[in-house]
């Protein structure tokens, strides 16, 4: 039985606004460059979030810091422990702190309340640092959170760091990543007279340890002879982050959130950076080789090659098994950042799956050009897709499996399309060689699950009216 969507093809209700024409391109057909820095249209059912959201996801995995959200309670409630960043130590970051602003605070200002909340948290928990996130309303009423944080910092002798993340500044999480970057730099800048000695260790920027990836990558690096200084920010602590300036090299994984930090670190501490990507066997191998090249130490390249050889051989039978099952299936990808999109494209291609639709919330021009180059002609690329567009392309392109986040999951399922979570809801480690197998298994499970048969084989009966 064929699944049909809600939008009549060629009918009265066109899913794409005229203004959005430039945000959709078809590979091999469209000549124009994709528009991607545009703000979302008012009235669009956008999958995008806000500046606060972007800042919060970057800083939240700092495990032993208190994350205090300055605003009405909602912004803290919705972000309470929703990112499954794993911690090997403190669980402080999994608590939700809100100044819970009331009407009188909106009228008279929330600074006193903020200061009192910081005092209470510090007295109670003695965290090494407090991050104070500004939300929309704080930006409007003009609370001087920088001053409140500075004073609290002096009062308590710890880092109290303002994050200027009022939501309305932009609907683009990238701006939030930038707010987080400034907060990070503020945290790691050595005190006057303090010197962080340079080491031979690497910093891993843009790894959030959602499924234990940081630990796996750390193991690979150790095997080839590289020690990790700190991951930024997965499973990190305030003390560990303060050692960032001592890194020999910055590995940048989530390009959306961390290129900017890498640039600042290079300017301030002279640390060079290299893009890496540990999602999928191919990316993992390329990344290990690149690191070995940059270290230029005797034996490192050989150790990397040995690791790659051993692991590739080990997982090859399993990947082959899944590839047989998945060859020729059609996939759609809609994720937050281009880094993730590129990683998934590569992994799906390794499994013989065709990517027929790809979109991101925050991709940049050069990202889209790269994506464009990796897809077969006739595939659709969309910036900031709305559900109507996603729906249209899932149906039109006869998609078998979609990779995306929570909002896409329900839509995919409604359309009878399998779904694999490559976002912050996932629980499995998807990095490295083991992650490649896990990913393949997840794609196989959802693509080839017997549950779809129940949808397709409906009993042929007459149904009376009524709900």
């Amino acid at each position: 039985m064929e699944i049909t969507g809600s939008i009549p093809s060629g009918g009265v209700c066109t899913p794409c606004l005229d203004e959005r024409q430039n945000s959709v391109v078809t590979t091999g057909k469209t000549k124009t460059r994709i528009h991607c820095a545009d703000d979302s249209l008012a009235g669009a059912v956008s999958q995008r979030a806000c500046v606060y959201s972007g800042a919060r996801v970057v800083l939240n995995p700092i495990t032993d810091a208190a994350h205090l959200v300055h605003g009405p309670v909602g912004c803290a409630s919705y972000t309470w422990d929703i990112r499954g960043s794993l911690s090997s130590g403190s669980g402080m970051y999994r608590n939700s702190f809100s100044t819970d602003l009331h009407e009188r605070d909106i009228i008279f200002g929330g600074e006193k309340r903020l200061a009192a909340c910081i005092d209470e948290i510090v007295r109670r928990y003695h965290p090494p640092a407090v991050f104070v996130y500004a939300t929309c309303v704080v930006g409007i009423i003009g609370d001087d959170i920088i001053r409140v944080c500075r004073e609290a910092s002096e009062r308590h002798g710890i880092d109290v760091i303002p994050v200027e993340s009022s939501g309305f500044i932009s609907g683009n999480k990238i701006i939030g990543y930038r707010a987080a970057a400034h907060a990070l730099i503020r945290l790691i800048t050595p005190k006057e007279g303090e010197v962080i000695p340079k080491t031979r260790r690497v910093n891993l920027l843009g790894e959030y340890n959602l499924g234990g990836e940081k630990w796996l990558i750390e193991r690979y690096l150790r095997e080839i002879g590289v020690e990790m200084n700190v991951a930024c920010t997965g499973d990190s602590t305030v003390a560990a982050l303060k050692q960032i300036p001592g890194g020999y090299l910055n590995l940048v994984q989530c390009t959306g959130s961390m290129h900017y930090v890498a640039k600042l670190l290079e300017e301030q501490y002279g640390t060079p950076s290299v893009d890496v990507n540990f999602f999928g066997a191919y990316n993992t191998a390329e990344s290990l080789r690149a690191i070995a090249r940059l270290y230029d130490e005797p034996g490192m390249t050989e150790r990397a090659e040995r690791l790659i050889e051993r692991e590739t051989t080990r997982i090859e039978p399993e990947i082959r098994y899944y590839r047989q099952k998945l060859e020729g299936k059609r996939a759609a990808i809609y994720v937050g950042g281009a880094f993730k999109a590129l990683a998934i494209i590569r992994q799906l291609r390794e499994l013989g799956v065709d990517i027929v639709f790809c979109g991101t919330q925050t991709g940049k021009q050069e990202d889209y050009e790269q994506i464009h180059g990796m897809l077969k002609p006739g595939s659709v690329i969309v910036d900031d897709a709305n559900p109507a567009e996603i729906e249209r392309f899932l149906v039109e392109k006869r998609v078998d499996i979609m990779a995306g986040g929570v909002k896409e999951r329900v839509l995919a399922h409604k359309l009878g399309v399998g779904f694999v979570d490559h976002n912050h809801d996932r629980k499995e480690c998807l990095a490295g060689y083991d992650g490649a197998v896990t990913f393949a298994r997840e794609v196989f499970f959802t693509c080839c699950s017997p549950v779809w048969d129940s949808l397709r084989r409906q009993p042929d009966w007459e149904v009376a009216d009524g709900t």
């Binding site: 979030a49 009405p72 809100s98 100044t99 500044i169």
Partner: protein, 455 residues
């Protein structure tokens, strides 16, 4: 998380740590989803809308569509009128709903956008409707937002057009799951009383998966039905926090009398609903419902030794927590700590009154509390069982206390939005959940010699 609870009693007087509520707009969005062919619209930054949709989608495991005014810095400085007007035009053009239900956010409230005027100045296609409600996030909770949106539906759309009131009842179900709404509608059907449920998220957020997907699901109260609530002879408002305001508005605007009742959770609250329908519509109580009630009583008697005397924590939204507390009291359990994040002193008064009736002493009851406080109390004196939302799972693990998941949100279990906790069938389900949870715990904990086949 677990090691983050400071030792000993700590003063906590300001802000919220691990909140037991969220903000108004999500309640308004949920209510608006219960209107047929409606697109909820969030007048504020994109993040609000994204968070609410995500949170609702996680609880209901279903598609939640809503649009946003997508505020930027400019809108925040110069006001959001232009954004809202553009949004209304775009929404009707692309998503083509019958009605847009706009709610505000802390941002647009603080800027002071005058929604009625902006809506009046907007281009609204013939036959389409735009309604709005004010949901400043810095007041009340998600329940307040729900209440405000339902009241606005009445104030915008309900009309008393008939000279004589119709033999039909308006049911204001409050912030409950579609499974609960479905069960209340079934009770009406058993009675044979025509009714209008407002809002009605059945077949919206518990819609079956068929081979046809549609942007707007089949369910939801239609605009015609909302208009017709003004012609009903009776309103029953279930849950005073979520429904009283709309009930009062119906009385005020359309002279429809309203009986405020508790959400029909537990034996007594369900009895009250049945009796009210029986009295107001002068019809006999269907035998089928009497049978169901008898089954509940039978089950209570058969199983009371599984749970009687156990100390229990109940936390969540006031309209759920109040009748649930009443029910566990009738079960012989001891509500040790009862907490809601929603403000309102009468929560404490009502619960304390119930505890007094059952001569339960030494309990703590708190409105506008948070889960940090709850955890502190439990550390001082532990309990046997937690009943509440998913957010109780941290305490459950830290203190090794079983958790029965009831309320909103439940993010880590499925199927619950489809299964009622209201009505007599809901009683059976609650008894089953509570009883089984305690027995599972016993089976896990007892030594081999005490491990029983028959319990």
């Amino acid at each position: 998380m677990l090691d983050c609870m400071p030792e000993g009693p700590v003063e906590h007087t300001i802000g919220k740590i691990n909140p037991a509520k969220t903000c108004q707009p999500i309640g308004a969005m949920y209510a608006a989803l219960g209107i047929h062919n409606c697109l909820p619209h969030s007048h504020g930054s994109q993040g609000c809308c994204a968070y609410h949709r995500m949170h609702l989608a996680r609880h209901f495991r279903d598609q939640v569509l809503a649009s946003s005014s997508s505020f930027t810095e400019g809108a925040s400085v110069f006001g959001g009128a232009a954004n809202l007007k553009t949004a209304i035009r775009n929404i009707f053009e692309i998503y083509n709903p019958e009605i847009i239900a706009v709610h505000t956010t802390c941002l647009s409230e603080t800027i002071g956008d005058d929604l009625p005027t902006i809506i009046k100045q907007s281009e609204i296609p013939e036959g389409k409707r735009v309604i709005h409600t004010n949901t400043p996030s810095y007041q009340g909770s998600h329940i307040t937002g729900f209440s405000n949106m339902v009241r606005s539906m009445i104030s915008y759309l309900a009309e008393a057009t008939e000279p004589v009131k119709k033999e039909q009842v308006n049911i204001l179900p409050g912030f409950v799951n579609p499974g609960d709404m479905r069960e209340i509608k079934r009770i009406l059907q058993e009675f044979g009383i025509p009714g209008i449920m407002l809002p009605d998220t059945t077949n919206v957020l518990d819609a079956p998966l068929t081979n046809r997907y549609s942007l707007y699901p089949e369910g939801g109260t239609t605009i015609a039905q909302i208009a017709d609530t003004g012609n009903s002879k009776q309103t029953i408002a279930l849950g005073s926090w979520a429904s009283d305001a709309a009930g009062a508005m119906l009385l005020d605007k359309c002279k429809v009398p309203c009986v405020p009742l508790r959400t029909p959770i537990g034996l007594k609250a369900t009895d009250d609903l049945i009796m009210t329908l029986h009295e107001k519509f002068s019809c006999e109580v269907p035998g089928s419902l009497a049978v169901e009630r008898g089954q509940v009583v039978d089950t209570l008697i058969d199983t009371h030794f599984h749970y009687q005397g156990k100390k229990v924590v109940i936390f969540g939204d006031p309209d759920i927590v109040i009748p649930l507390t009443e029910f566990v009291l009738t079960m012989g359990m001891i509500p040790k700590y009862v907490l809601t994040g929603t403000p309102g002193a009468r929560f404490e008064t009502e619960i304390k009154h119930m505890l007094g009736e059952y001569q339960v002493e030494g309990s703590i009851v708190k409105a506008e509390g948070d889960l940090f406080q709850l955890h502190q109390w439990i550390k001082e004196e532990p309990v046997d069982l937690l009943i509440g939302t998913t957010y109780g799972k941290y305490i459950a693990r830290a203190e090794d206390i079983p958790l029965v998941r009831v309320g909103f949100p439940i993010l880590d279990r499925a199927v619950h939005p489809l299964m009622p906790i209201v009505g007599y069938r809901g009683c059976l389900r609650l008894i089953e959940m509570i009883s089984n949870t305690l027995l599972d715990r016993r089976d896990r904990d007892v030594s081999d010699e005490d491990y029983e086949l028959v319990m």
